[in-house]
């Protein structure tokens, strides 16, 4: 297996992975989406809510606020030995505001300085006049399997690595393909009088160029052992943290199978 980073930003990573097959890369993709835990608000005690936003709507908006997660320092609530919740398995966020103002996610007062909302500017509700809101929210670990608010990814996708070949014997350099390509993958080189593949990784395999070529000189195919894998996170975890956590989960599952088969023989 050969992995190269194509691009990397704060919340987005693009990898080129060679020497794997579809079931493997799809397993990683699905674990990234559904089984990597993150923090999200799950329980709410609303003491006062004068605003025109219903308690249920407010609860839903709060649940969707992504919260910075440190997988090392916090454990799932159902694995904790406390009775209800404690700082080992949850974080309490307090909100007490008086109008007139718009209440933002940044107004949430976290009891743990490291575990805070990712964004400070998410509008939660608006207070008119001297309306008040007072609530206590409990954030805990969970997975996307249970609710989408715990999904760490907003994009987790792969595509076959495109391979574009131009048969120079058949090509008559009409340049139709280069002008028709919606993604600027092909370019016409006037000096050499031939078509160049300038940006193959950007190809979406729409095959517009294949259809437009009257000489049938172009073929576009995807390699089934090389992939472009893209992952964007909601900010609760870094994209590379999501991938490494997914690999740990897959490894732990495989280990269970190994231990089981060894016990049987």
């Amino acid at each position: 297996m050969d992995i190269a980073i194509k691009s990397k930003e704060e919340d987005r990573i693009t990898l080129v992975i060679e020497g794997v097959d579809v079931p493997f890369i799809n397993a990683i993709r699905r674990i990234c989406m559904m089984e990597v835990p993150t923090m999200a608000i799950e329980e709410l005690g609303i003491f006062k809510n004068d605003s025109r936003v219903f308690d249920e709507v407010l609860a839903h908006r709060l649940g969707l606020v992504p919260i910075k997660t440190d997988l090392e320092s916090i454990i799932p609530r159902d694995e904790c030995d406390c009775d209800d919740h404690c700082p080992k398995c949850s974080v309490t966020l307090l909100l007490k505001e008086k109008g007139p103002k718009t209440v933002y996610s940044g107004d949430l007062n976290s009891q743990d300085a490291k575990i805070t909302p990712v964004h400070d500017t998410i509008p939660l509700l608006k207070l008119r006049g001297d309306e008040e809101v007072e609530l206590e929210a409990i954030a805990q670990l969970g997975t996307g399997l249970e609710h989408a608010k715990w999904q760490p990814t907003t994009v987790a996708a792969y595509k076959y690595y495109p391979e574009i070949t131009i048969d120079t014997e058949k090509c008559e350099a009409c340049a139709d393909c280069a002008s028709e390509c919606p993604r600027g993958v092909l370019e016409f080189d006037e000096k050499e009088n031939k078509i160049l593949v300038v940006d193959p990784e950007n190809c979406s395999m729409c095959k517009t160029c294949v259809k437009d070529c009257e000489m049938e000189a172009i073929t576009v195919e995807g390699r089934d052992d090389k992939f472009i894998f893209q992952l964007e996170s909601d900010g609760s975890l870094k994209p590379e943290e999501v991938i490494s956590a997914a690999c740990d989960i897959l490894a732990a599952k495989s280990q269970k199978i190994i231990e089981f088969t060894e016990g049987e023989s």
Partner: protein
Amino acid sequence: MIPVRCLSCGKVVSAYFEEYKKRTDEGEDPKEVLEDLGINKYCCRRMFISHVEVW
């Protein structure tokens, strides 16, 4: 109020909406503002351009 996240992909869009609104009201091109804010997918972009703040 704008939904917290994009309805299709789940990216947080609400955090950027006020800046988008302010800058487009001042006459900036919505396309350029969205690109500047890093809203690149069309599912997220329609959340911005189709939202009307009623209260």
